[in-house]
């Protein structure tokens, strides 16, 4: 058990190291000059040489990649994620305020798409080839091939511009002081981006769940349950749900990455001040500390999602649970012995040949 924990931690640290390194390398390769990008073209042209040099020093341009990465990594190990030059605030602070918005958005989209996808998938699978099934399949195929930002634009046009039911953007009403913003306002602003994200997320889960439902309904154990007097629906309820939930849960936990990626686009379309939008700003502005911070947080989130999927597997699928480690160990030992006996047999044979 402790071996598993150790492995997981080691993997996590390696992942963090890799993600941050890639972020730094990509930013250093980026053609964007942070000084120009942040000051603006006109201001930069009218700027004195001394001012330019001062700004270049502030943005750290000209310092070699390894030196920057080394000092950032050193700070990180001491618990300091650095300053966001673009927002002129500590990276931790910027991420914390934006993560609240993003997590609310992604969380609701994640739950809605998961539940809706699961229900649609099971219903479609149960009545395979019915009109309902065809509608669900058609819906999923269309959505799976629609770009998220385009769908966001359409939803924005229909519900915010033409119908006027929802605000066009931002997470709070314009011109309202933060203290006056109620939960209702926040939800009202979150509705459209959350809708866009969930509608896109449904397709994947629904199609996979449908396929698994069809498989399970054709299985021997459902046939046997039916032969004992259960209807197909009852058999699916008693013997199918757990078996179908397995792939759905894996997908659902793995889909965190996709939802995160989708949220970057959706937050841009809806001007929603979340992590995704901050990532775009940081990337375009050469704010490497903030970008690396966001990359770390999102990688950690996806890592956590996959790890949770692994843990849930153990609870749901008794065949994989750790409650019978003796069996697994015996198997390992047996194969080990087999290998060693083969190598022992191998040597004298070699001797004979030579």
């Amino acid at each position: 058990m402790s071996k598993v924990v150790f492995h997981t931690i080691a993997k996590f640290l390696l992942l963090m190291l890799g993600v941050s390194l890639v972020t730094f390398v990509l930013v250093s390769l980026s053609p964007i000059d942070p000084v120009q990008a942040n000051v603006g073209q006109a201001a930069y042209l009218n700027m004195s040489e001394a001012k330019r040099a001062q700004l270049a020093h502030y943005w750290g341009s000209g310092i070699p990649l390894w030196e920057r990465y080394g000092s950032w990594l050193g700070d990180l190990l001491r618990g300091d994620m650095g300053m966001s030059l673009r927002y002129n605030a500590p990276v931790v602070e910027v991420i914390a305020t934006r993560a609240v918005n993003s997590l609310a958005l992604m969380g609701s989209a994640w739950v809605i798409s998961g539940v809706l996808g699961f229900v649609l998938g099971i219903t479609a699978g149960l009545w395979q080839n019915s009109i309902f099934d065809r509608l669900v399949k058609g819906y999923c195929f269309v959505l799976a091939s629609v770009p998220t930002f385009w769908l966001g634009l359409i939803i924005l046009m229909v519900f915010a511009v033409y119908l006027g039911w929802f605000p066009v953007g931002f997470s709070v009403p314009l011109g309202m002081s933060a203290a006056d913003v109620g939960l209702g306002d926040a939800l009202h602003h979150m509705a459209l981006p959350a809708l866009t994200l969930s509608v896109v997320g449904v397709a994947n889960i629904a199609l996979h769940t449908r396929e698994k439902t069809v498989d399970v309904l054709e299985s021997d154990y459902i046939r046997f349950a039916c032969s004992r007097g259960l209807s197909r629906k009852q058999a699916l309820l008693h013997h199918g749900l757990r078996n179908i939930a397995l792939p759905a849960l894996t997908l659902q936990c793995a889909s965190l990455a996709e939802i995160f990626g989708g949220s970057v686009l959706v937050e841009e379309v809806f001007s929603y001040p979340g992590l995704g939008q901050a990532a775009v700003t940081a990337g375009l502005g050469g704010d490497v500390a903030l970008l690396a911070g966001i990359a770390l947080v999102s990688a950690a989130l996806v890592f956590a999602g996959n790890m949770i999927a692994n843990l849930i597997y153990g609870f749901i699928d008794v065949r994989m649970s750790l409650s019978q480690p003796c069996l697994a160990n015996e198997g390992e030992k047996a194969s080990h012995q087999l290998k060693s006996s083969i190598s022992r047999d191998g040597r004298p044979q070699d001797g004979e040949v030579s």
């Binding site: 046939r223 046997f224 349950a225 004992r228 078996n243």
Partner: protein, 305 residues
């Protein structure tokens, strides 16, 4: 067949007399004057695309998988349906249990205890009179402990307590420890799985058991035990339709044998008829007789030479 007819026909023939396409064995009897199960002119066809035509021109056509099957099971006997793998035997089991694929076309008549059945009433008999004993552990839900599965969900009118009590009785009768109830299917040994599947069927108190290849994968000792369990069930007045590809096994335990060949039952006869090939009507049955190890075992060699 009307009830009146069936009442009279039990008196109208003796054991060795040919009636309803079959010969009786010594312990075949007509309880309440009717067969426990009687199937007449049963055909199952599937709508399929013509395989000979090219992909875009293929028309749908009906393909007969089972054609004109007649078979009867009496109370107190084991009837073995013997045929090669893939000849449609399992489909016969499904059809008797009223489990149809959506593209199947079924015709024929099935009587259960002298009453003519339709698709609806057959499906109501599943688990309430006719029970299936499937082939193996794959027929158990892999994620549910077996005790709960044996107790089942098909009888909402009986309380959980009552079902649990019945399950305990069955477990002790078949030498399964109470701790087995908490195991999952993948933890069962072959012999345990077989008894669990039998317990599943017996839990529902059937009159007729349809056993679909219940012995492959079991060693001889376990297979014999399985068959003696079916024998006990038949001796207590139940009927068993044992579907198998193993003619030796069938002759060993069954009272009567129905030879299944190319989707049809070519001969339905008492086991005693297999004592000599002259007593067998159909050429395929005789080929089966020759294929038995204690006989000349050259039937095929003769044909190929």
């Amino acid at each position: 067949m009307s009830d009146k007819n069936s009442l009279s026909h039990s008196q109208s023939h003796t054991d060795q007399e040919f009636h309803h396409h079959h010969l009786h064995a010594s312990n075949s009897h007509h309880e309440h004057g009717a067969h426990l199960l009687q199937v007449e002119h049963l055909s199952v066809a599937f709508e399929m695309y013509d395989e000979d035509a090219s992909f875009f021109q293929a028309k749908k056509r009906m393909v007969n998988v089972i054609s004109d099957v007649n078979i009867a099971v009496h109370a107190g006997e084991i009837v073995a349906v013997v045929g090669a793998s893939g000849s449609g035997k399992s489909l016969l089991a499904d059809t008797i249990l009223g489990i149809y694929e959506p593209n199947a076309q079924v015709s024929g008549t099935i009587w259960y205890e002298g009453i003519e059945q339709d698709a609806r009433s057959l499906s109501q008999l599943r688990g309430h009179g006719i029970s299936l004993v499937p082939q193996g552990v794959a027929s158990l839900d892999p994620l549910m402990c077996v005790g709960k599965q044996v107790e089942g969900f098909g009888h909402p009118q009986s309380t959980r307590q009552a079902r649990k009590k019945r399950r305990r009785e069955l477990f002790s009768r078949y030498g399964l420890e109470e701790s087995v109830a908490a195991l999952y299917p993948h933890q069962l040994s072959g012999g345990m799985a077989r008894r669990i599947l039998l317990c599943c069927a017996l839990m529902d108190d059937p009159r007729l058991i349809v056993a679909d290849e219940p012995t492959p994968g079991l060693d001889l000792e376990l297979a014999e035990q399985a068959l003696s369990d079916f024998r006990d069930f038949a001796n207590q007045g139940g009927g068993v339709m044992l579907i198998t590809h193993d003619i030796e096994l069938a002759l060993h335990v069954a009272d009567r044998v129905a030879v299944f060949y190319e989707g049809s039952i070519v001969e339905e006869t008492a086991v005693s008829a297999f004592s000599s090939p002259e007593l067998l009507e159909h050429e395929y049955s005789r080929a089966l007789w020759h294929a038995l190890p204690e006989h000349d075992f050259v039937g095929e060699a003769h044909i190929s030479a």
